[in-house]
Subunit: 601 residues, 2 copies
């Protein structure tokens, strides 16, 4: 088909939109693909719709190849199913909620596990009906706190979400693998390099999960990988736990004055200056146990303080902390929190409680000081440890007295914890948990996510089938998502130059962009001829036939729009020649008018 620019709903813009934070947003708006309607909410113009539909077609074909059936759910859903699974609350402020005229509660669905589960419950009842994989391509809603980066993190966005239903774990493995394979084919067709990383199941509450990340230095996600093939996002990385060390022969703990050492650096300096290690090796931050007070905010509004002890050379990683404490949101304790736990609050304890800068798990007068092992009346603050703090390891840590630390405090001997937690940052060189050597950190963009949900949703909503023996068994599920509009933005983010977009052919809005330059009627006729020949060869042609627009503007628009192949009809027409311009390489090749269609076949 030929689409004529002289009669097309398109305006390219000279200026970048003022609210664009990323390249894809800037270029998609300027080139006339999308327009912003509200923060994180966009309208699709004709060019944008074309690219979106091409991506959707590829996704549909591969879903079909994976044996998945297409359905389509509403965005507006009643509260009840989400209430049953707890997600009505868990989503917190991220969920768009509304009431109808009768006062009933509804939501704009951010994902559809609940209603897919109920649909299958409604229609199926036997193991013979399974396995089943169903999917939709549908507009979803999340009330992001900071909708940003254009389509990369919108509040209304199009997703392909698929769900699998099996009655055995092996069945789920197979369904999961089929979707995972489909994702590999989809990203290959889209020209998107990917890494599959172990992921944290997070709010989905599943048992196994992997993320497809596109590795790129401009990615917002961090992941780790080892030369030996391990890959995980930072949330899912698990620390290799060292062996415990026998207590025998370890010196007793000793409280020493360490004035003005409320930071790790000042503490290490003071320790080396005033309390050198007996064997002469200098103390380092890794010898200290840092105790960080975190505030957890749960979806129901509850707020809990926890203290986490971790080696002093590691920071708390916000994403790992959020994953570890999901569904709670995590923030550093604030001044009010410290104030509320100031000296004198607990009867019978002299000295301080949370003495900022000098917090530790052990108190010189009271022994075990933090966590449920301490005193029953202190159980409102849990004490959790980094997995590296195994029994027998000795630490310099706060003595819970202003200006004092305790040296040689031994885990397992002098203090215990309520549990272990993975909130410490991952670093280059940390050992991969599967023994495949040290990991390195890299950045990427999430382009897909597959989850083994297991039986959580089926159990909550009562989805059971009769197995071969006539026994009711709970179904086990998988959930598989690709953000269609997000992927479009990622492709735009990765394929551009200073002059505009450069689409991969598989998703380009048109196959060829034919440009007629100048005012010479013969040129326009030649361009018509070329466009018609390309159309006859099955190409989708964008034809810049605007009569009164200068060649410079036309070239600028062609570069901005980013159709990968441009054909320019200009002066060469007199000699029967046009130019084929490769948008990506910039190379222009003269070709006889009669041979253009063949050259681009």
């Amino acid at each position: 088909m030929i689409t004529r620019l002289s009669n097309y709903f398109l305006r390219t813009l000279r200026e970048d939109p003022s609210d664009a934070e990323v390249t894809s947003h800037r270029l998609l708006v300027r080139a006339g693909y999308i327009r912003r309607q509200a923060p994180g909410v966009f309208a699709w113009l004709p060019l944008g719709l074309r690219v979106k539909e091409k991506i959707e077609r590829i996704v549909r074909e591969e879903m079909h190849n994976a044996g998945a059936h297409e359905v389509h759910f509403p965005a507006l859903l009643p509260r009840e199913p989400y209430e049953i699974t707890g997600r009505w609350e868990e989503y917190g402020e991220g969920l768009f909620r509304l009431k109808d005229r009768k006062g009933s509660d509804y939501l704009l669905a951010p994902t559809h596990e609940e209603v897919f589960t109920l649909l299958v419950k409604d229609l199926y009842n036997s193991y013979k009906d399974l396995p089943l994989s169903i999917y939709q391509i549908q507009d979803k809603y999340r009330d992001e706190a900071r909708p940003r980066a254009g389509l990369l993190r919108g509040r209304e966005f199009t997703m392909k979400d698929a769900y699998s239903f099996d009655y055995t774990d092996a069945g789920l493995d197979a369904s999961y693998q089929a979707q995972r394979d489909a994702y590999e084919r989809i990203f290959t067709r889209l020209g998107l390099e990917y890494v599959i990383v172990k992921a944290d199941a997070g709010a989905m509450g599943g048992s196994k999960s992997e993320e497809f990340l596109h590795p790129t230095p401009i990615g917002e996600d961090t992941f780790v990988r080892s030369a030996g093939g391990y890959a995980a996002n930072v949330e899912a990385f698990t620390t290799v736990v060292p062996e415990a060390i026998p207590f025998d022969g370890l010196a007793p703990a000793e409280v020493l004055p360490t004035p003005d050492t409320a930071t790790i650096q000042t503490l290490v300096d003071a320790a080396n200056a005033n309390h050198p290690r007996p064997d002469g090796r200098p103390w380092t931050a890794a010898d200290t146990l840092k105790n960080v007070v975190l505030a957890l905010r749960y979806p129901d509004g509850r707020r809990e303080l926890v203290v986490v002890g971790l080696p002093g050379d590691r920071e708390v990683d916000q994403k790992r902390a959020e994953a570890a404490f999901s569904p709670a949101e995590v923030e550093p304790a604030n001044e009010d929190d410290f104030k509320a736990n100031e000296p004198g609050l607990f009867d019978g304890i002299a000295g301080v409680y949370l003495t900022k800068g000098y917090i530790g798990p052990w108190h010189p007068q009271h022994g075990q000081f933090l966590g449920e092992q301490a005193f029953p009346d202190r159980q409102n603050i849990r004490y959790l440890l980094d997995p590296r703090v195994v029994p027998g390891t000795g630490w310099i840590t706060g003595a819970n007295e202003h200006g004092h630390h305790v040296f040689g405090l031994v885990a397992g001997r002098d203090f215990t914890a309520d549990g272990f937690v993975e909130v410490a940052e991952v670093r280059d060189g940390d050992p991969a948990p599967n023994g495949s050597g040290p990991v390195e950190l890299a950045r990427g963009m999430e382009i897909g996510h597959v989850f083994q949900l297991g039986r959580k949703y089926a159990e909550a909503l009562g989805l059971k089938v009769l197995d071969e023996n006539g026994k009711l068994v709970t179904v086990t599920m998988g959930s598989y998502g690709i953000g269609v509009t997000r992927i479009l933005a990622i492709i735009a983010e990765l394929n551009n130059d200073a002059n505009g977009l450069i689409w991969p052919p598989s998703v380009a809005p048109f196959d060829v962009h034919v440009v007629a330059t100048g005012r010479d009627a013969a040129v326009f006729e030649a361009a018509e001829t070329v466009a018609a020949a390309l159309e006859a060869a099955g190409k989708d042609v964008l034809f810049d036939d605007r009569p009164k627009v200068s060649p410079g503007v036309k070239f600028g628009d062609a570069e901005l729009i980013g159709v990968p192949t441009i054909v320019i009809a200009g002066r060469g027409v007199a000699d029967g020649v046009v130019e084929i311009w490769d948008r990506r390489t910039g190379v222009r090749t003269p070709v006889a008018i009669s041979e253009v269609a063949e050259a681009l076949a």
Copy 2:
């Protein structure tokens, strides 16, 4: 392509859904096309999606042929543009409203005039850019008071909405005509007979509007048509106003006792018995002036009482009343309304005010009694008249005294009104307003609606372009809607029999439904051969290859699903023959296996 029922996400149901009020809803649920998620909110199963997409494809093709460009707007939109045009209020409870986490107001759009207007304002600025027609196929939301009839009146529904932009009235006429022509082609391709009727622009606030109605006795809309080619829906029908009559020689009005005559029938009987007409002709209901008290409820919550005087042989038509008083909702005055206007409320007036059953525009002691012409302190109740009540017409009407009516009360002489209003029912035989003879009433279903909006939205939102003389002119717009999911339901409503659906070929989920019956491997092989031959001929085939399902169940499912052509492979296969079963006529024709594809070409 071949779709195998042995591996398809489909369950037909034996029982009708308990909440189904209409045939289409009942059959679409039973045959596995849709599932209800909430009142007026449905999920689309694979069969339903296929039909929906076929309708959408036809609509897209004809929009393309009409020169309209496809875009896609979000459903979630900010309040501001709708606030500016007044529709944030006007939609009243019919609008789904919500707030984001920052407390900003949003709506789920019921229609998109505002944002299309702003988009064009954003991108275009010259008459050279016009005319422009853009459209989308998109999910819309209306919080219907009584979502009912399945997809016929849902709260989430898919619509094609197109908008045209011109800078001259002649341009708007042409754009309107192009869409109107496209609608004719669409309905023809969908096999939907239609009547184009003059419509009331209603809440859209436009200047000219037509509705496409499918005439059917089960339609929920009433329209009128004359043999001479006039057609209008009842809201848009305008009464032919009789000539005024000179007052000269008309007898003075006379108050007469008419005990127990609070209804028109009792009044006519009493008048004939006790106060016969001087010339002996019997009084009829048409001689009486009925005064109906209506309560208008405005979107902003305001409530107003009006009294409407109309010939006693006509009832108030609710739809005409709603159209006349739009955007107010109209309901009969209630007991509280009458109570609030009981005797003694107004100083200086003896007797009663709204004396139920005896209300009239004139009072024996006070003269003009109702409306703004009466007393300044009564201007809170407007008095409006049916257009037939022209000056010089005489009436029997309430005397505002219990048990009394006034006879020979002459309009224009004894009383006047604050205006005229079209709320009286239309009846068979009423004259068409264009002089084309008497009209007859018919029923239909709305399948499309085209509006000339004029400059209302462009004016409110400041959409202007420079004309040929460099002068800024306000753009004039049209709005054109087709309910895709509603049309699907209407097609289902019109095409079925006791056994199930019967799709027109243009929208059937598959072209052919091949059924293999029995357990004979040869039959299944023959069916495979037929399916493959049909696929090779470009047909979309649904193949019932389920191995252990009885022929009766398979036939039942085939009838319920409603693919128009069914091919049955059964015993005849031994003789090289299958049957082609025309779902609509029921006729079964034996055909050689090798000739099926040709027979169905």
